[in-house]
């Protein structure tokens, strides 16, 4: 994922995550610069935890730079706190539509070979994965 410019800057990241964010001010005109203090932030421990939850390997030396980058993004997002949203319903989608519904009819399935075709390993139409120890 990359946001706008600044891709070259992070291209060499060995972790391969490639979240490259310009400093918050880059998106703003002078008059829009943040007026509120930056209260939302993460620390190195949180970065390690989120990486673990997302199953993303991250090298020790990359943790702190990542923390700073994310704090940059969070600081930028923090500006939203300036907007008064009292009494406004949270928007989960910007499409003025509701969900379409499908009839309860079987239209798919019956193709186990196709389903497992891209699996690194399969056997008798099962996916085969390294032993899961519960």
């Amino acid at each position: 994922m990359s946001v706008g410019k600044g891709q070259e800057e992070g291209a060499g990241h060995p972790s391969g995550i490639g979240i490259d964010i310009p400093p918050p001010s880059a998106f703003l005109t002078r008059s829009q610069k943040p007026k509120v203090s930056l209260t939302m932030s993460v620390d190195d421990a949180t970065i390690r935890k989120v990486a673990k939850l997302a199953h993303i390997a991250i090298k020790d030396e990359d943790v702190h730079p990542m923390t700073e980058k994310l704090n940059g993004i969070l600081g930028w997002i923090e500006q939203l706190n300036e907007v008064d949203v009292d009494g406004i319903e949270p928007m989960t989608t910007c499409i003025p539509m509701t969900q379409p519904l499908r009839e309860d009819v079987v239209t798919d399935g019956g193709k186990p070979e196709a389903v497992t075709a891209n699996a690194p390993k399969s056997d008798h139409n099962f996916f085969v994965v390294p032993k899961v120890v519960e």
Binding site: T93, P100, L101, R102, G109, G110, T116, F126, F127
Partner: protein, 489 residues
């Protein structure tokens, strides 16, 4: 609700009595043809990955479209639980990694479930009842199945169940004993079966429960709870709770602390054990699923569904008691399954309802249960049972002979009247014939006659002998009257 258990439900530990507090999350599979978000079939017993679309396999770029029937069944179930239906609900992603969860997240409803608060009445075995609050019902996807015993070094994954629609029904922590928890699940199962929204088959995993258990000193603050995952029978629910409550009490009495964690019930040992490390266990990082728009329901559609609801067990029970004069217990047994009540009502037409209920419950259901069956497998139709009860009513056969007729009904296709005719089971009410039998017995046993004259309670011996002599066909009351008269007692 902060009710305290009845005294009898408390568990005695070394430091006094403890109260167990139980809440349940019941997963009920929607009885649909296709999956919640794909057109792949729902079914038991298909070959590996036969019932899988690219959506269920989590292939990139595939988009979910919700099944209208599944939505309708969730609404229907909500109405059956006397719960609030939310006209607007949303779907969220519950993120975790497991090989049988190909998307890397489960689509569920976290923030805005389709059904909100409700309440149901639950009956205990002894006929007393209690109320359990329903916190919510939401729609979500089932995961696939991991098979660990096909290869010592690998796990095999079958995604046939992946994406099947589940209704997760979450109760309030209103239960105070293992038996009450099982009674709640039983009632829930009865309700979804009446509604036809889930087949309630726990053996096939179509209904299963996550059990939340904590213990506390009676009336004290709630303790830390443990969640026992995927318990799939009533007796396992009872055993798992009893074991878990004891385990927690022991830890607390030894001065320890309960860790909030997910545990597994081991069917073989009857014990629970830690499933996941508590670290990160519930860190699912829910967020709104960007692939799914909010689900908006028209109030008119909800009302239409409401109109199609069948008579539910509580209403049916009340009606059976009022219309047929049945006891709460009998009515309760009959409404456990809609088919039982239907059978009873078909048989009771124009007959002595109490007699029909007795024969249905004690003899028919008793016999069926012994063979692992229920009313749907009854070899005796309602009409044939009613035919037999008609013969009892008009005095053609005694209740005792009826037991024999019942055996013939069970084993043959004949009507009760045909059986009575064929086997000569008609009750002898002809007093002349009975008198003759009494005289013969008395003549053969003069000593007993003398004894019975002095001790009238010995008259019963003669009744037994006469019944035996007449092959049980004599009317017992007539036999008794004649013997009393002849003995002059």
């Amino acid at each position: 609700m902060n009710t305290t258990a009845e005294k009898s439900n408390l568990i005695t530990g070394n430091t006094g009595e403890w109260e167990v507090v139980i809440g349940l999350e019941v997963h009920a599979q929607v009885a649909s043809n296709a999956k919640l978000f794909s057109g792949a079939p729902v079914g038991f017993g298909a070959g590996p990955n036969e019932n899988v679309s690219f959506i269920d396999a989590g292939m990139p770029g595939m988009l979910p479209v919700i099944n209208k029937f599944c939505v309708e069944q969730a609404v229907r179930t909500g109405l059956g639980l006397n719960a609030q239906i939310h006209t607007r609900s949303t779907f969220d992603r519950k993120n975790y990694f497991y090989p049988d969860l190909p998307q890397g997240y489960q689509i569920s409803q976290f923030k805005n479930p389709i059904v909100g608060e409700g309440e149901i009445e639950v009956e205990r075995e002894d006929g007393s009842s209690f109320k359990v609050g329903i916190e919510r019902l939401h729609l979500e996807q089932d995961a696939g199945k991991s098979i660990h015993d096909m290869d010592p070094n690998a796990t095999y994954v079958d995604l046939n169940r992946s994406g099947v629609a589940l209704m997760e029904i979450v109760s309030r922590p209103d239960m105070r004993s293992a038996l009450d928890a099982a009674a709640f699940v039983k009632k829930l199962r009865t309700i979804v079966r009446y509604l036809g929204t889930c087949d309630g088959d726990m053996e096939k995993g179509n209904m299963r429960a996550d059990v939340n258990v904590s213990v506390r000193k009676p009336g004290g603050p709630l303790g830390t709870r443990c969640e026992i995952k995927n318990v799939n029978s009533m007796s396992y629910i009872v055993k798992a709770i009893e074991y878990e409550a004891r385990r927690q009490i022991e830890i607390l009495e030894d001065g320890g602390q309960i860790d909030q964690e997910t545990r597994l019930f081991n069917v073989a040992s009857g014990e629970t054990r830690t499933m996941r490390s508590k670290e990160d266990a519930h860190d699912y990082r829910y967020f709104p699923d960007p692939d799914l728009l909010p689900l908006e329901l028209e109030q008119a559609w909800i009302e239409e569904i409401r109109k199609t609801l069948p008579e539910l067990p509580d209403a049916k029970k009340a009606r059976l008691m009022a219309d047929y004069g049945l006891s709460a217990y009998d009515a309760g047994v009959l409404v456990t399954k809609g088919a039982r009540a239907d059978y009873f009502e078909a048989a009771a037409k124009g007959r002595d309802a109490k007699l029909i209920a007795n024969w249905t419950i004690n003899d028919l259901l008793g016999r069926l249960a012994k063979e692992g069956h229920d009313i749907d497998d009854s070899p005796i139709s309602a009409e044939r049972l009613a035919g037999m009860v008609a013969l009892i009513e008009d005095g053609t056969i005694s209740s005792k002979i009826a037991k024999e007729v019942f055996e013939h009904l069970w084993a043959s296709e004949n009507t009760a009247a045909e059986i009575v005719e064929k086997h000569g089971l008609k009750q002898v009410t002809d007093t002349g014939a009975i008198e003759k039998a009494v005289d013969e017995v008395m003549a053969a046993n003069p000593d007993k006659v003398e004894q019975a004259k002095a001790k009238p309670q010995l008259a019963g011996w003669f009744v037994g002998q006469v019944m035996k002599a007449t092959g049980g066909k004599a009317n017992p009351k007539a036999v008794n009257d004649i013997i009393q008269k002849k003995l002059g007692v």
